[in-house]
Amino acid sequence: MSVAAALHRRPRLRLGLLLAPPMLWLGVAYLAALAALLVTAFWTANSFTGEVERTWSLENFRELFGIGVYKTVTLRTIGIAALVTVVDAAIAFPIALYMAKVASPRAQRLLVVAVLMPLWASYLVKAYAWRGMLAEGGLIDWIGKPFHASSPGFGVTATILTLAYLWLPYMILPVYAGLERLPTSLLEASSDLGAGPATTLRRVVVPMAMPAVVAGAIFTFSLSLGDYIAVTIVGGANQMLGTVVYANVGAAGNLPFAAAVAMVPVVIMLLFLAAVRRTGALESL
C-alpha cells in the first residue's frame, strides 16, 4: 500500500507530519529564545571576567528598579511610544478614511502601494534621511525659515517624528482594513437620519474604526518600545530601553542585565494587550 493511501486514512497523523517542521521552528527559534532571555535575566555577570554565572539571583531587577536613571529611561520610552502612537493615529485616520471610502478602486490600489513603499527601503537609510532633514541647516530648517521656525534638532521630538514616520504604514493598513469593512449603508443611514458629515464621523465612523486603530496602536507602540536605532541616530544624548539593552550586550558585556532590561518592554506590552483586549482590537489584527 502506498504511503499516500496509508496517510489518507489517518488524518491526524497527516496533519501532525505537515505541521511538525513549522511548529518546531516556532517552538525553538521563537519561544525558546524568549524563555532563554527570561532565564538569563535571573543570572549575573562576573564583573571582573564578564562571564555569566549561572546562579539564581534577583540582583539585576534590584539594580533596574533601584537606580533612578533606569526609571527615567523606562518612562521616557513609554512616553515616546505613546506619542508616536498618537501621532500615527492622527495622521493615519484621514489617509485610511480617504483610501477606504473616497478613492476610486484604482486610486485605492495605488495608495496601498504608496503606503507600503517605505517599508521596502532600509530602515537605516530612512533614519539617516531624517537625521539629514533634522540637522542644523537641513531641510526642515530651510522650510521653516520663512516662518521663523527651526528644526527641533536631535532629541526626544526628533525621535518621535522619526519613529512616527517609520511605523506609519503599520497604523494605516489596519485602520484602512477596518474602515473598508465599515458598510457604506451605515454612513448613508446616519446621513439619512439627519447627521451632517462631522456628526457621522464622530458618532459612527470613529467608534466603529476604534478596534482597528487599537490594532494599529499595538504595532506602533510595541515597535517604538523596542527601538534603539532611531534614537541613536536622531535622539541626541537621550536613551531608550533599547539603547540600554544594546549598551549592556555590547560595550558592558553584561548579558544578564540586558536580559532583565529587555523584559521591561515585554511586560509593558503584556499590560497594554490586557488593557486593549476588551476593545475587540485583537480580533481585527
Binding site: 473616497v102 458598510p183 454612513l187 443611514a189 446621513s191 437620519l193 451632517g196 458618532r203
Partner: protein, 384 residues
C-alpha cells in the same frame, strides 16, 4: 459617490425648517414627491432613463420591477444618496435636488437594515433625535412610543446582533418613523425575511402606514407584494416607467407587454393568431382565469371570443387547475380553472379537444414594450 456622504462642505446638523414652512397640517394637493425628467448614468449604463412621477401625499406607493430596472436608483435619488445626471426632485413642492440627505425630510428603511452595531436598539432608534439635539426625556418618551409602534417595547437595551431578522427590520422601521418624516422610503425591506414573516410584515406595514398617515414609497421586485400593499404602483423596466396605476388597473388593464408579463400571468395573442381568433390584428392579452373551457362546438354568447384547441398539459394546484391548450396556429394559451363543483373535470385531460372562450371585455390591447418609447434620446447626458 460614497464621498458625498461624509465630505459635504456645507456642514449642517440641523435640517432647514423651510422644509415644513408653508405646508399646512394636511397639504394634500401638493404631491409629496415630484420627479421631473430624471436621468442617472453610471458610466455607460443608463440606470434611470427619463422618469417623470408624482407621488401623492399620504399614499402607499410601490415601485415594482425586476432587478436592474432602476427602481432602487430612483429611491436613492429621492433620499439624496445619488444625485441625478439630469432632472429635478421636489419634496412637498420644494426642489431638493441639490440638498444632501441630512437636509431632506425623508427617512429610509434599508434593505440590509443598516443598524449601527455599536449602539443598543434604543441608541439606534433615538439617533435621529439625538443628532437634532432633542432633550433626553423627550427622546426616551419617543423611543418607547416608536418601539411600541413596531411591537418591540422593552427591547431598547438589546444589541442589534441579539435580534432576529424580522426584529431588526422593525428596529430599522422605528428608527425611521421616530423622526416623523413626510415620506418614508423602503428599499425592499422584506427581501431578507421568510415567506410567513413577509406576509405578516406586509399587513403590518400597510396598517402602520394608514395609522401614521406618512407617504410610503416601497421598492420591491415581488409583484404579489406590490399588489397586496399599494394604493398605486409604478412598474419599472430598463430605467423607465412602463405604467403607473392602481393594483386593479395594473392587473386588469396592463398597458404594455412587459406589464402584462411581469404582473401576474398573461396570454399574449398577436399577428396572424390575433387576426384569426379575434378578427382584428394587434397585440392582445387575456388573463388565464378569464378563459372558460367547454366541449367543442358549444354555443358562444355574444360578446365572447372563442377558439378551439387541444389540451397539452395539465397542472393540478389544489384550489385551481392550470391547463395549457394548443390552438391550431401554434399559439398556446394557459387556462386557469377553479376546482369548483360546476366545472367539468372530464375536459381537463391531456389530448382532449376543447373550446376556449372569454369575454371580449377582458381582452386587453397592449403596446409592445419599447414602442412606447420611440428611440433613445440622442441628447442623453453622459456622465463619468
Amino acid at each position: 459617490m460614497n464621498s458625498d456622504l461624509i465630505f459635504y462642505s456645507t456642514v449642517s446638523d440641523v435640517r432647514p425648517s423651510s422644509v415644513h414652512a408653508g405646508a399646512g397640517p394636511e397639504a394634500t394637493d401638493t404631491p409629496a414627491i415630484e420627479l421631473r425628467g430624471l436621468h442617472k448614468s453610471f458610466g455607460p449604463v443608463h440606470a434611470v432613463d427619463g422618469v417623470d412621477l408624482e407621488i401623492r401625499d399620504g399614499e402607499f406607493f410601490s415601485m415594482l420591477g425586476p432587478s436592474g430596472s432602476g427602481k432602487t436608483t430612483v429611491l436613492r435619488i429621492i433620499a439624496g444618496f445619488e444625485s441625478p445626471t439630469a432632472g429635478r426632485v421636489r419634496l412637498a413642492g420644494h426642489d431638493v435636488t441639490d440638498r444632501p440627505p441630512f437636509a431632506r425630510d425623508v427617512n429610509t428603511v434599508f434593505q440590509d437594515y443598516a443598524l449601527f452595531p455599536h449602539m443598543s436598539v434604543a441608541g439606534n432608534v433615538e439617533y435621529g433625535l439625538r443628532v437634532r439635539k432633542v432633550d433626553r426625556a423627550e427622546r426616551r418618551r419617543r423611543v418607547e412610543e416608536a418601539l411600541g409602534t413596531v411591537r418591540l417595547a422593552g427591547y431598547g437595551d438589546r444589541r442589534p446582533t441579539q435580534l432576529s431578522g424580522g426584529q431588526r427590520q422593525r428596529v430599522s422601521l422605528a428608527r425611521a418613523i421616530i423622526n416623523r418624516p413626510k415620506v418614508l422610503l423602503l428599499d425592499e425591506p422584506l427581501g431578507a425575511l421568510d415567506l410567513k414573516l413577509r406576509r405578516e410584515m406586509q399587513i403590518e406595514l400597510k396598517q402602520m402606514q394608514r395609522e401614521l398617515g406618512i407617504t410610503f414609497v416601497f421598492v420591491t421586485h415581488d409583484q404579489e407584494e406590490a399588489l397586496t400593499m399599494s394604493d398605486r404602483i409604478a412598474v419599472f423596466n430598463d430605467g423607465r416607467i412602463e405604467q403607473v396605476a392602481t393594483p386593479v388597473e395594473l392587473y386588469e388593464t396592463p398597458a404594455t407587454t412587459f406589464v402584462a408579463g411581469f404582473v401576474g400571468t398573461s396570454n399574449m395573442l398577436e399577428g396572424e393568431a390575433a387576426r384569426r381568433i379575434l378578427g382584428e390584428p394587434g397585440l392582445f392579452s387575456v388573463r388565464p382565469e378569464k378563459i372558460r373551457i367547454d366541449q367543442p362546438g358549444t354555443t358562444v354568447d355574444a360578446g365572447r371570443c372563442a377558439a378551439e384547441g387541444v389540451v397539452e398539459e395539465i397542472a393540478y394546484l389544489g384550489s385551481t387547475t392550470h391547463a395549457i391548450v394548443a390552438l391550431g396556429t401554434g399559439v398556446t394559451l394557459t387556462v386557469q380553472q377553479q376546482n369548483a363543483d360546476h366545472v367539468d373535470s372530464a375536459l381537463l385531460q391531456r389530448g382532449r379537444a376543447v373550446q376556449l372562450s372569454w369575454p371580449r371585455a377582458h381582452l386587453v390591447r397592449l403596446v409592445a414594450t419599447g414602442e412606447s418609447h420611440p428611440g433613445d434620446d440622442p441628447t442623453e447626458v453622459e456622465s463619468s
